[in-house]
Symmetry: D2
Amino acid sequence: MAKKLPVGILGATGIVGQRFIQMLEHHPWFEVSWLAASDRSEGRPYAEAARWRLKTAIPAGVAKMKVSPAKPESAPKIIFAALDAAIARELEPQFADSGCAVVSNSSALRMQADVPLVIPEVNGDHIQLIAKQSWYSKSGGYVVTNPNCSAIGLVLALAPLHRAFTLETVMAVTMQAVSGAGYPGVASLDILGNVIPYIAKEEEKMEEETQKLLGTLKGSHIDPAPFAMSAQCNRVPVEDGHTESVAVRLKKKASAEEIIAAWNDFRAEPQKLRLPSAPDQPVVYMTAPDRPQPRFDCDLGAGMTTAVGRLRKCTVLDWKFTVLSHNTIRGAAGAALLNAELLKAKGCLG
Amino acid sequence: MAKKLPVGILGATGIVGQRFIQMLEHHPWFEVSWLAASDRSEGRPYAEAARWRLKTAIPAGVAKMKVSPAKPESAPKIIFAALDAAIARELEPQFADSGCAVVSNSSALRMQADVPLVIPEVNGDHIQLIAKQSWYSKSGGYVVTNPNCSAIGLVLALAPLHRAFTLETVMAVTMQAVSGAGYPGVASLDILGNVIPYIAKEEEKMEEETQKLLGTLKGSHIDPAPFAMSAQCNRVPVEDGHTESVAVRLKKKASAEEIIAAWNDFRAEPQKLRLPSAPDQPVVYMTAPDRPQPRFDCDLGAGMTTAVGRLRKCTVLDWKFTVLSHNTIRGAAGAALLNAELLKAKGCLG
Amino acid sequence: MAKKLPVGILGATGIVGQRFIQMLEHHPWFEVSWLAASDRSEGRPYAEAARWRLKTAIPAGVAKMKVSPAKPESAPKIIFAALDAAIARELEPQFADSGCAVVSNSSALRMQADVPLVIPEVNGDHIQLIAKQSWYSKSGGYVVTNPNCSAIGLVLALAPLHRAFTLETVMAVTMQAVSGAGYPGVASLDILGNVIPYIAKEEEKMEEETQKLLGTLKGSHIDPAPFAMSAQCNRVPVEDGHTESVAVRLKKKASAEEIIAAWNDFRAEPQKLRLPSAPDQPVVYMTAPDRPQPRFDCDLGAGMTTAVGRLRKCTVLDWKFTVLSHNTIRGAAGAALLNAELLKAKGCLG
Amino acid sequence: MAKKLPVGILGATGIVGQRFIQMLEHHPWFEVSWLAASDRSEGRPYAEAARWRLKTAIPAGVAKMKVSPAKPESAPKIIFAALDAAIARELEPQFADSGCAVVSNSSALRMQADVPLVIPEVNGDHIQLIAKQSWYSKSGGYVVTNPNCSAIGLVLALAPLHRAFTLETVMAVTMQAVSGAGYPGVASLDILGNVIPYIAKEEEKMEEETQKLLGTLKGSHIDPAPFAMSAQCNRVPVEDGHTESVAVRLKKKASAEEIIAAWNDFRAEPQKLRLPSAPDQPVVYMTAPDRPQPRFDCDLGAGMTTAVGRLRKCTVLDWKFTVLSHNTIRGAAGAALLNAELLKAKGCLG
């Protein structure tokens, strides 16, 4: 077996950083060789620095690994980044500038014109944008991003419809899990027995990211998809899994059977390339009238499959349905990991 | 002080029946004199027959009251009905036929052409339909209904907009509390840490009831309001309070200030008549960016006020906002009680 | 009506500070005239500085009040203190030294020999200790404390038994609400669908405070009650109300009837003096086999009554039972308020 | 590979029945060949008859299997029983009488003198009692039971201490998950944000089963262990995993190190025999001060390991600690499965 590629994790102690570590534990191509977090964690063994919030144990090798300073000097070439936006905006360019392939989950650079925002099943061709980045020409480094946890499930459900029937209008209302807010994140006094109808900047991200993801590569930028898109975002007392009530209008009229077939038959490059983290089926339509549900269905396809259900006619637009996606797997760490796998398969990781 | 009018409660042991008893405890006009429930409860003291699920104690007089058979013979003239739809469909006509004023929370007869579906602040004039009911001409009895718990908060928020700006399109996604399903209702294994994207028949009710409520009385029937209306209903792990993410298109364009003023200034007959259960302000706009929230705001106006918040532009329709309403007070028992108060004020309770 | 006494609140923005404000809104003797919190809040209107987490609205007068620096210079004589222990240890002596009557909910000074730790129904005589405090002789200032939120419900349930039958052994296991940890306090990711079997220093506090509260005033200190006492503390996903599974051994054997009568008949000085916040019945025995329960019973006596239930034989000690007490009312703000009322009734507030 | 033994499941549609099916899906020795449930399910495909409440999918073969009548005629020799006690009391003897090896999770016959109540790591020798059963001599059939879900975790934690140091006194307070009550089980309106301090007959079961499990086989009955044992049982809003606050007095004094070693070193027959469902380590001591916690730790050892933590001195008895065990795996289906594996290893399954 070929030697695994060493990877680093920026923001390793947070909830998404933990998911990276969990998902990389048995990864066939990558292995964690470097961890960085905030100053307060620096120099401490990871198991001490992180408040581990996952059900599986910290991998033994990682547990003892010392947390490094968040500087590019000692870092490996491949960096998974799970930083808060404000910090990412400062650090990610430094790492790219130093020649790192920064595979980022942060929102900081997602909407920058020359930064690809990628879901490998949807718009893998957008990674060509990296060649337009100034870092790339200078050092070979670059930044590739994945979308917000609430956008990715939606876009996976929309992509097959957009390809086959062309979207005209999309309205989405989310019911998002608390793990999406990181740790400590949402206070229990705020969310026990409650709904919070507001997540800062989330609606804006969902709207603009959806249009960029389904947009078209035009030389050095992306033309956003031209459909109208409106999002409303709510937090609910659920641990993992973002549920969304969606309504769409399609240019080309379609039957329920055609729409369901579009979802279930949807396969793309990651499936053809058999990327290690790619689910066999990116989108699964569930036929039970009351599914998908986050507690029962968010682990479908090891958390990488988007579940769709309840397709029915809409009296305002054309169709209504429910979408569910695991927010810290497909919506964060798994998204970035699949991006890295695509980059490797395309020869972008050297 | 005038003697209080005796009232009976059909379905007295359920969650809504309990709310009736709680809200009637200190009522200035009505007093509970008769309780009926299923056969299994018959003849038992109420405190034994009911599994009381409210924070206040069972009123002492009611606790000892024997549960009567659900038959009109012994019943008082005014009946609050909180029955399951299938049973209501059978029993409510029997009581109306015997001369009772049946003020019902059940969905059974809501959409029947000659049965008024009423929110006193919105369409009090619809109660004139009772004169068209065959029971009325025969015995003076009739049935008046209130809407579904998910429709009533929405319609209270929509009514001021419809009056001032005329609704063209309404889309609503609900996040509904478990108390809306009665007791035992939703199993804890189904809802802890979960969202259920399905409530049987709820979306249909919301859509058709909203249009009837905002419709126009035309002789012996109601012309439904002509706007397009689409609903998606979800259950969330919240005890009380239905939250809704709503988007609307208005015929007459309006500014945010005008819309908020329409809500805050909204007053109607119940407020003018100073009906005992009428809130001072039926709709309150909350300015905090993350409100309303069910755990903190559903008791506004003793549970009779609808809270609205987060008004913002919609990129698809015109405006988006969040609505919150207490589902077993304004959405059930309080709704019926206010209907009864309106009937009394209008001289329909003899 | 006599003019109300002005009172200040130290730590006004926290969860307990909020409860003080809520409980003082309509208080017949006291009115809030001064609010202090951390530096970051200083100078801001209270409504902006606090993240209000209660169901009732911020009283209008308080909402606009500017938050003062936490210094005794501008403070009124009567100070309710709701500070973290570390800060309280520093600030409370400063206020007492300046002549303030500091009525504190903090744990900082509770176990100091000359500081009374008081539940008015249980050991009101301990307030005589204030005359032994060095602050008192210097400036007339002093500190009076109330117990930890998990100790107070237990001690109210134990006191009648200790008086009548003498406790030999007490074992208590708590299931504590998240509001006991303040705000933001417990992260939702830590407690949703979970139990945390650990609350820092809580078991030690429960054990030593219980023995001081039921102890005997001996000149300038308290002889702790001589019974053996062991506590285990757990956090559960409940908003308000600490539930405790308790077992006791009594010196004088008693029947279930005698024990229940001891609880239900328990009245003390606050009831005789008709202190405004004193519940009519400090301890209520609930006869239903599955009560008390926090969601339904923690508001008994406006949150000032301790509920007890499930008395049954213990095969190891003598008796087992369940205790429930509202942790931020009787367990914090209400406890301090009742202490202040007792101080006023005894002429200690000048 | 040897052909797998066919097994049947009585009560296949309930929560424990579902766990049996899940755990048997890839079992090396057994395969499901027969499913029975209540009359209403009879003749329907399993996937329709059951309301599946687990995260993994229904095994394809089982999904289509028709539900059989609950009669021994068509049943295989090995029967896993997950019936309500009242039904089990009637049906289990019928199956044993017909020659079946009934491996039961029900409480119905657990305390019958000639019925072994077994945890393979603790008292595997008790299975010899089956030879004393009248069914056995008649048809070769018998009944073997496993303990209540709240007793099994406790006894696994107690057994190493009892062996090494001899228990004198045990006090346990449970915080039990809702899945322990089956489906629909606990209503969400009863448990959201709440604690229910009562589970019918649970305390009695915990006390008597613990003493039978740790008792001594004396010919045709079990002498219960002679220590004093007291239990208090509570329901909390947790999906899976029973947490217990335990205190013990030991005859032979032991240090914390000795006790922790007793737990971590505990191995027994199932580990020596390498039974397929036996965890490598039946009891694990967790050193973090706030563990074990049900949401994070109940899947240890695939749900078959009991986690212990927080060992500390008790001021009343000797030691206090927290125990956690998965209630539907180790506490129900996994318990019975391990019993069946022990029976097979000992040649009792023919």
